[in-house]
Amino acid sequence: MNCTQAQALLHPHHDGELDAANTLQMEQHLADCPQCGGALRTLEAMRAVLRQEGLRYQAPPTLRQAVLKAAQEAAKTKPAPAALRTRWQLTSVAVASLAAGVLATLFLFHLQSNNKGNPLLAELTSSHVRSLMAGHLTDVLSSDRHTVKPWFDGKLDFAPPVKDLADAGFPLIGGRLDYLTGRPVAALVYGRKKHLINLFVWPADSTPASSVPSVTEHMGYHYVQWQAGGMALWAVSDLNEAELLEFAHRWTAQ
């Protein structure tokens, strides 16, 4: 790859929008070329500046209340489909329970809102969603861990542990090279009935996370984070919390 090609791909690379092959070539070029490498560091510095607290505005409480009120009034007065209207007219209890539900949603949402500023969660979400959308779920498609593990050789500066959990109901589907927080990571793909689990693996850094898996919810997905064998592990899936936790425990136990 030369500088002209690298400059054309610099922004999509910085945004994690390149496929594995181009990403690898970019990494090589960026390591060799001080000028292009410097341009990337400038973009990274700008991102750090833009991701600081305070640049993302939060909806004021007055707006939240107004929006809720409008929704409730619209639900009461708006001509709704026949089935819905009867339901609304059945009893005012329905209205009260909806309001309670909305409040509960808001409360839960408030609890979760802390995660929204977490750039790693955002990156994990993008990687997970992109892997599902772009037809780029796996680079190596195999349920055989002896095929998947060697595939990573030479593509990563660490050897990711690859386990098949078919016996526990989480069959290995394949592996893929991915990018998180500016470093190449291994993404292992597992199935659970019709759900897919992306397990992101990279060497744990100096700030040790707990070896006990913990769950976070973000944008409708579940995230289980833990550490094992010196690796940082993040499982991302639309699978329910309990089963995703079970996956994490089985994975560590094996």
């Binding site: 945004d15 341009a39 400038t42 700008m46 640049l55 909806a59 709704a80 949603t105 959308m133």
Partner: protein, 176 residues
């Protein structure tokens, strides 16, 4: 499936209210316009919730927010706020900027805000969606209703202009 519009609304709109308000706030440049536009967008979303056919709820809602906000601005301010970025004035391409120069700006959030606000609206909106909301190119393309290639070039140009703005003038207090 016949979705219950109010239930979909809880699911589609309320979780993304901060994102909606933040986008509207960046597009309008002030709190009161942003609140009005967000509220109107919520009402539109409520109306259209039954038409949501699955997929990415945040993109679906932010697309409504973006459209409503621009329409709202046009109606209430009578213009699209087309600000021409003066490349002559702000200097041209400079890929050799020292990252530390930009990082110094971290201390001065108002300077960063001002720089973002002075970007042309199309670039600003792409930058906000990418850098602050963490949207993918595909999501931005859907929200702003433009092709992927346009997203990429708006981000590239937006970043270049922002870089110029953040590095061209050394800190100058907080002049409006």
């Amino acid at each position: 499936m016949t979705p219950d519009p109010s239930a979909s609304y809880d699911h589609l709109v309320l979780p993304h209210l901060d994102a909606a308000y933040s986008l509207a706030r960046w597009l309008t440049g002030n709190d009161s316009d942003a609140q009005d536009a967000t509220q109107e967008a919520c009402l539109r979303a409520l109306k259209f919730a039954g038409g949501f056919r699955g997929g990415n709820a945040r993109s679906w809602f932010l697309k409504i927010v973006r459209h409503t906000t621009w329409t709202w601005l046009k109606r209430n301010r009578g213009h699209h706020e087309e600000v021409e970025f003066d490349e002559e004035l702000h200097g041209g391409e400079d890929l050799s900027t020292n990252p530390e120069t930009i990082l110094m700006r971290q201390a001065d959030i108002n300077a960063v805000r001002q720089a973002l606000e002075s970007l042309p609206p199309e670039f600003r909106e792409a930058m906000i969606l990418r850098e602050i909301e963490g949207c993918s190119y595909k999501e931005i393309a859907e929200i702003a209703d433009v092709p992927l290639g346009t997203v990429m070039s708006r981000l590239a140009r937006g970043r270049q202009q922002l870089q110029t703005l953040l590095t061209a003038h050394p800190q100058t207090g907080g002049s409006p």
